[in-house]
Amino acid sequence: MRKNETIEKFGGTERRLTRRTALKTGAAIAAAFAVAPALGARAAQDAGTPAADAETWGQYKDKGIQINFLSEDTPPTAAMINHVGEFEELTGITVNITQTGLADVVTKVLLDFASQAGDIDVIYADPMQIMAPLYGNFTDLRTFIDDPTLPALPNGLDDFDKMNLIGSGYMIDREKLLAIPYDAPTMLLAYRTDIFENATYKDLFQQEKGYDWTPGPNITWEQYREIAEWINGKVADGTIAEKVAGTGHQAKQYDSLMCDFSNVMLAEGGNYFDNPDYATWGTATPGGCALGSPEALAAAKLYDSILKQAAPGSLSWDWNGLAEAFSAGGIAMAPEWHEYASMFEDENLSTVAGHVKWALLPKGPNGTKNLWGGTGLAVNSYGTEERQRAAWLFINWATSPETQKKLLLEGSTPTRTSVYQDAEVQQWIADNKDPLVAVLPTVLDAWKPENIGLAQGKIVTWVQVDEAIFTDLSKMLTGSKTPEQAMTDAVSTIDKINNWPPAGA
């Protein structure tokens, strides 16, 4: 996939030694010797623990500073509420956390920026819906990272998963860090073990279809559809006792539909734009819409056929609706954001607790692609200097290895590699007792460059483009447009939104 190639390319660029690189390296070494004492002091701070840097962490104690953190209602923030007292005790800064739907977050942030009020200090900066259209209103976080009067960022930026850092942290300007990776939901395939590991069902399927039906990247999207169809048939004739639909999808006319379709489209080798930066660093010039490609059209046809086998409710479910339906026991398998693992394993919310496993999504000609939907925390540039610094302290604490490790057990997914290397965390994963931890190896597998799905656009017009994509897809799924018409119309609308081709071209 082009996006993944881009990330690999960035990695590759670092390793390639050019004359310019050699000169830079030499200069850097000389500079390092010159500032060795300062670096030594900085290294001490890099231990990252508040205890090692109590003075800078506590510089606003007794000043009565209050900051506001506006977030989408996501597992990390829900967990954060239980721990924010620790930050308040450490720094003396009061944090008011507000959680709401993403659309509401977008509107509130826009109005704050428009009025330049600076009331929202810490912003849950969704890369596509908030950062891309509003990126000129965030503070460059390097200002704080490089400030010796503030606590150092523990382990530095290199500790963050590179894909998460690029996806959540930057918008076009690669020298300007706008957000620190905070959460990282990733699309995986959830499936019911009481169905897929039932020997009778499994053997019967193997006998009839000739292959192992275990969900994962070993099966193709066509096989996935075939499995769903087979289950539907066997439930109808009573062979499968559980009253389930073969599959369920988040195909409501909403952002979730675009996300759901993206998994299939990327696996088929299609994409929304040809410019490889559009879903990684962000770009002001995404170019023409690529939904007219043969790969995208094939994906649309395949997706349409898959949805014909999905539970009828799929057309009215977003990710929440799908998760509720899966928890209610009505679906055998479903592509879903991995953060719903906590819901599926909550016996108060789920009838399938203890019977759910996660796997990478099915593959296509381009391999398995698992859509990434991470978000970072950013600082509002309209706040006072003092509040911006306080906001940075909170972000630094909230994304620190210690906090990420604590929140891990409450449904959050760490974005720092050091957390995964932590001996205790590795032991948790090895123990495989906590379902929230158990899903992490699959998530890490999905984050590999060859598996990650980067399709959501970091372009200024993404919200409109997204709307155009899921509206035409919805029309396709409800039969008012053919896949060809849907893709053609989507290309036409999206190119119009982006003024493509440019005048005079």
Partner: protein, 316 residues
């Protein structure tokens, strides 16, 4: 005692000696002074934003400080007229508006008549029937989303049990999504019509009704030829209120269908919300909003004119 005669010069001096006053304030009566603060507040919170909205409709308006707004003249208005998606939304709005208003008026009048003729616990019954109206519209949407959920929705379950809508997602199928959202709105707002009609029913002159009974009219004849004609002004008021609300309220649609599937429930209010607060195209959204205001005023005038004719004062 004779009054000294003032020369024109003296008169002029008297006039010029008076403190300068804003003419309109000088003419204000005590009641006018009492109303003035309200008018000023209204100017600040309603009229100024309205004028600003008109101004915005001529701009490619950016709310962000670093992005300058661009004057586009009638560009947004021309685009609105040429935008097929907008016309499709108006058509959807017409369906939604017509179905919901008709249903609510018919049911509202019927329920009011039923309550009025209930011999016992009339007030208690009215209170229970009116309760949906006091629920926030967004909660109504969430409630109905729960009731119609394809996996565990109670209504979905009962419909499937009686063999209806099997393999159909009520909120996910264009054929059923619109009726569903119409029913949601009807469930919540029919009680408003009931209240208005009940108040009208209780104000009806009893002597006329008694005379019709003496003349031998049946109950249905009484309703058909006396009650409903006399209630007509009240029903028109209910229709006026509901028609304005139907165009404005999008809460329950946003949390259930969000305009889908396939744009089948995307009424103009949702489209305006999207343009303004999802796409940040405030200039275009202003033009759309003003068009909606024009339509609302037109509908309002239509009802008021009908009402005026009924009361013998055309155009009142």
């Amino acid at each position: 005692m004779s009054t000294p005669v003032q020369t024109p010069t003296q008169q002029l001096q008297v006039v010029t000696a008076q403190p300068k006053r804003i003419p309109i304030l000088g003419r204000l009566s005590p009641e006018g002074w009492m109303v003035l603060p309200t008018v000023l507040v209204l100017l600040a919170v309603s009229i100024y934003p309205f004028l600003y909205m008109i101004r915005m409709s001529f701009f490619e308006y950016s709310p962000l400080p670093q992005v300058p707004s661009k004057f586009v003249g009638l560009g947004n208005w021309v685009q609105m007229l040429q935008d097929q998606a907008i016309w499709a939304s108006w058509l959807t709005t017409a369906w939604y508006f017509g179905a919901a208003l008709t249903l609510q008026l018919v049911l509202g009048v019927a329920i009011a008549l039923l309550i009025e003729h209930t011999p016992y616990f009339r007030d208690a019954l009215a209170t229970i029937l009116l309760s949906p109206m006091f629920v926030a519209p967004v909660l109504v949407g969430l409630l109905w989303r729960f009731l119609l959920h394809d996996s565990y929705g109670v209504y979905t379950y009962f419909l499937h049990e009686i063999g209806l809508l099997n393999n159909v997602s009520i909120l996910g199928d264009p054929r059923t999504a619109m009726p569903a959202v119409v029913l949601m709105d009807t469930w919540e707002w029919t009680p408003l019509v009931v209240i208005v009609v009940l108040s009208g029913l209780r104000a009806l002159p009893h002597d006329v009704l008694e005379a019709s009974v003496v003349d031998g009219s049946s109950y249905w004849q009484q309703v058909r030829y006396i009650t409903l004609p006399m209630l007509r002004p009240v029903i028109l008021v209910a229709a006026l209120i509901r028609s304005m609300d139907l165009l404005r309220y999008i809460d329950h649609l946003m949390v259930t269908t969000a305009g889908g599937p396939a744009d089948s429930t995307k009424i103009i209010g949702i489209r305006i919300f999207e343009e303004a607060f999802r796409f940040f195209r405030l200039g275009y959204a202003s033009a759309l909003g003003l068009a909606m205001i024009v339509v609302t005023i037109f509908l309002g005038r239509l009802f008021v004119n009908v009402l005026g004719e009924e009361q013998g004062a055309p155009g009142a």
